[in-house]
């Protein structure tokens, strides 16, 4: 418990905003990049390579005065499916949940098949989530599967 508190101090508390915790240790900067951390309006705090009893090494990202859009949450779910999302109001956690992949992902993932119609016409990509651990997606248009590192965001 004391160790947990120490770790939290490693990344300062925010008054209002969103905390993404329990990011897989290797995915922290990927999530930060997906959230465009270096070009947002408000302050973003990134803690990487923190020790975690649950997952060994983890990352944490805190974004001040911001609630993420469903689209942003879906992006995080693809890069860090075990992460948790907390909404902070006046330093208190008012909502905490595990990030979950929806059954269908639209407009986020690019199909790696160069012959797929989604790479030729100006249309939104659509993927069906057919597996969650590991994440496995099927392109709605060309039926190709994408797994793990093949998934292009």
């Amino acid at each position: 418990m004391a160790a947990e508190k120490m770790r939290k101090r490693e990344v300062s508390a925010i008054k209002d905003g969103t905390v993404i915790d329990h990011i897989d240790g290797k995915a922290t900067f990927k999530v930060a990049a997906l959230l465009k951390a270096d070009s947002r309006e408000h302050t973003v705090l990134v803690g990487a390579n923190l020790s975690s009893r649950k997952i060994g090494r983890k990352g944490i990202i805190k974004i001040e005065n911001t609630e993420l859009t469903p689209d942003e949450v879906n992006r995080i779910a693809l890069a860090a499916p075990d992460a948790t999302l907390s909404i902070i109001k006046d330093y208190a956690v008012v909502m905490k949940r595990r990030i979950e992949l929806p059954d269908v992902i639209e407009g986020i993932v690019k199909c790696f098949n160069p012959s797929c119609v989604s790479n030729h016409e100006k249309i939104q990509t659509r993927f069906i989530v057919v597996g969650r651990d590991p994440i496995r997606l099927r392109c709605y248009h060309c039926d190709r599967y994408e797994t793990g590192d093949e998934i292009i965001l």
Binding site: E121, H141, C142, R144
Partner: protein
């Protein structure tokens, strides 16, 4: 069961009972086609990629049912060359006709078209992805020869890695209880993705390199051509193209069942000797002919005629 208004994009979209509905309708078309079933209806045939059999058999099917056809063959002379998107072309043409038969080199083109317009879209081949009416005619050929799609042993031979007819037919067989035997050299075997789907679907199947081993047990042998365009290396293609060769002697030597029927989506190269044509096993010409009654059935069903 009504399939009125349905798109035909992928064989994945059809249940067992829907496939059976198509088989029964194709059987009726083969026996006694109603010549005015689609009188007054118009089919647009949009072929943005070369095709002989598929286009001709679709147009023949529509004409035989009393319908009319407008057609485009290749991109030349179309607005696509002016930079028009496929989406716009489809949206415009949908206002002219009652259904669109589409062949396009891009994978998923028909799925996109079906989402855009209200009239039925029939996929006549979208790149390496799907060619569902070929699958329906293959299923009908097996059904017509064996009177069932259950309890059979069906061998697939040749290019099982890239051959979309094999992939679609294997997928369709997930709705039936037959044993599938995949015969190919390791580099051209059935992809693991598809093998995984068959396994999840409870399909009994195996993968082997020996055609001699499976031939005596088969009810259907589905041969495919080794496709030259899939090989970057000419020497590798030359080595692979002659790896299997089905001829009358082999059929005799391996003591195949008298009822064995051999199919091939054609064109054939070296894998199937013309001396098989004279045996009772040859079914591939009938298979090609079945394209017309099968497409008549599909057009009749989706246009609400039957």
């Amino acid at each position: 069961m009504s399939l009125s208004g349905r798109d035909i994009i992928s064989v994945r979209d059809f249940s067992r009972s829907e496939i059976e509905t198509v088989m029964e309708a194709a059987g009726r078309m083969l026996a006694d086609a109603p010549h005015d079933l689609l009188s007054g209806r118009l089919m647009a045939s949009l072929f943005f990629e070369p095709s002989t059999r598929t286009r001709l058999s679709f147009e023949t099917a529509m004409h035989r049912l009393g319908g009319r056809v407008v057609s485009v063959s290749g991109s030349e002379g179309t607005s696509l060359l002016k930079g028009e998107s496929l989406s716009d072309t489809i949206s415009v043409v949908a206002g002219y006709c009652d259904c669109i038969v589409l062949r396009h080199p891009v994978e998923g083109a028909s799925r996109l078209a079906a989402d855009l317009v209200g009239i039925p879209i029939i996929n006549a081949g979208d790149g390496a992805h799907e060619h569902p009416t070929q699958t329906f005619l293959d299923l009908f050929t097996i059904f017509n020869a064996c009177r069932t799609l259950d309890g059979l042993q069906i061998g697939f031979l040749g290019d099982l890695k890239y051959g979309r007819t094999v992939h679609s037919l294997a997928h369709a067989m997930m709705s039936f209880k037959s044993r599938l035997r995949f015969v190919a050299p390791p580099s051209l075997q059935l992809p693991d993705d598809l093998a995984g789907e068959l396994q999840e679907g409870g399909v009994e199947f195996d993968r082997t390199t020996s055609v001699e081993e499976v031939l005596p047990e088969l009810d259907i042998l589905y041969c495919t051509r080794i496709q030259k365009e899939r090989f970057g290396d000419e020497a590798e293609y030359t080595r692979m193209k002659g790896i299997y060769h089905i001829d009358a002697k082999l059929l005799q030597r391996t003591r195949v069942k008298p009822s064995l029927r051999i199919m091939h989506p054609l064109p054939r190269v070296d894998e199937l000797n013309p001396d098989v044509d004279q045996t009772e096993h040859a079914l591939y010409i009938q298979q090609a002919h079945n394209g017309v009654p099968t497409r008549m059935a599909l057009l009749g069903l989706v246009l609400g005629g039957i």
